[in-house]
């Protein structure tokens, strides 16, 4: 099967504006994501996960290497790659439904059709009854549901997610992870999901890509091999296969965190 996304020799560096130091964020990343695959990328903080995702999104050009989508090089942002950002990136001056419809508006989808799609995704992410609310009236978890729905409604070929559940409370996070799992199963989208949370990476990913500490390289690719319908947190805590995979990924990440006092 040809890769949906292919990263070839991807490297990136930037200059710290205060110290004038050159920081190599990514160095020679080779990675392929299959059609319909859910790939999670996990690694210690500062390993270049977000840089990787921004390059994939086309928001910054890589210093070295290429990103291929269906074999074509990525040169800028495009609606074939939807992004869910870590911070809530929905617009405060649009209601829930107008935020979700935004991608469709941009694509020029007629109003009636837009309304139907919005209704479907409002239901899918469990926001019925909140269509007319403004973001400041919503909790963090609900805002991120809006962001996910907005990305899904635009129907991108690939979904890129940058620690989307990092800034919501633990209880909500568990719910959102299970919902995303169901969405992935229902839509069959190709998803690349970046996180520093090992449990999350193993719970969600078909494969789990472990990045090394800075400069980020692919350290290991760990297949999870548990069918989507069995992925609930209840099973996760009791299933031996889950536990073994989690321990394996955790050990790999731990090697990279090293002496730093940081728990993944």
């Amino acid at each position: 099967m040809p890769a949906k996304i292919a990263l070839k020799g991807l490297g990136h560096e930037y200059v710290n504006p205060f110290t004038r130091e050159r920081v190599v964020a990514l160095d020679g990343v080779d990675l392929e994501v299959g059609e319909g695959e859910f790939l999670t990328v996990v690694g210690p903080s500062g390993c270049g996960k977000t840089t990787l995702l921004n390059i994939l999104a086309g928001l910054m050009p890589p210093a070295r290497g290429v990103v291929l989508l269906d074999g074509r090089p990525v040169t800028g942002p495009g609606r074939d790659r939807g992004v869910v950002f870590q911070e809530f990136a929905i617009l405060p001056w649009r209601t829930v439904e107008r935020n979700i419809a935004h991608g469709l508006e941009i694509q020029g989808v007629p109003r009636a059709e837009r309304a139907a799609v919005v209704r479907r995704f409002v239901d899918l992410v469990g926001l019925s009854g909140f269509e007319k609310k403004y973001p400041h009236e919503l909790s963090g978890g609900m805002k991120q549901r809006v962001a996910v729905a907005r990305t899904l409604a635009a129907n991108p070929e690939v979904m890129l997610m940058d620690e989307p559940f990092a800034s919501v409370d633990a209880q909500t996070r568990i719910t959102l992870q299970e919902e995303l799992n169901a969405i992935a199963q229902a839509t069959g989208k190709t998803i690349l999901f970046v996180t520093h949370n090992v449990e999350e990476a193993v719970f969600l990913g078909d494969r789990c890509c472990v990045l090394s500490r800075r400069p980020g390289r692919v350290k290991a690719l760990v297949p999870v091999g548990i069918p989507r319908e069995r992925r609930t947190w209840k099973l996760f805590t009791s299933d031996a296969a889950f536990a073994a995979t989690k321990d394996r990924v955790l050990a790999l990440v731990r090697e990279e965190v090293g002496g730093e006092d940081e728990r993944p």
Partner: protein, 256 residues
Amino acid sequence: MTVRWDLAATWAAVLAVTLAGWGLAAATLPVPDYYLPPPTAVFAAFGDLVVKGILPTYIAESLRRMLLAALIGLAAGVPLGLVLGMSRRVADFAYPLLNFFQSVSGIAWLPLMLVWFGFGERTILVAVNYTVLFPVIFNALLGVRSVPRLYVNALRTLGASRWRIVRDVLLPGALPSIATGMRLGLAYGWRALIAAEMLVGAHGLGFMIFNAQAFHLTARIMLGMGTIGVLWLVLDYFLLRPLEEATISRWGLVQR
């Protein structure tokens, strides 16, 4: 907008006490009448000038000039501020320049403008428009710069065009700042208008109070001053604040 009756009652009481104190001072202090006319004289002047049609004409004249300046300020200042704010380099360059011209108010320009544009309507309009325009441009620019980059990036990944980003992100994101700019610009402009009318002397409230001084019509001066203040309160309360509330507070961009 709900009427706060308790607040209104407090204000009525404060006003009554002030007027009573003023009346008492005017009646007892050993100064000529034109030094400190009693409140009744001011009310009499009000009645007199309304009957003669002078006050309504002058108010209309001042408001017309102000409205024109507000429209031009909005139509020219907002787009200009948005465009300047869109590029970081341009914004960094324009910032001190705009800040400079904002601080050199229209009043400071008046002597030069009188030379350039003469003692007439043109000088008044240029001075007031200038004064309104700079805070509007300046704050529109600040508004654009304050829009989180994240929102722009989010729209870019949805495939939005540059124009779409301006319309859907930069303009609404800059609105709180634009509203501040409008409010500031009109407040400065109102002062510049009075000053310009004083110097140029072609109708208007500024002309009225300056002209009254030549004839020691102190009550008329006080009436003019009161009218200037009250008109501003009305403009601000019924025009600028509702505008702000209709959009910005509803979006949760302004915490009240």
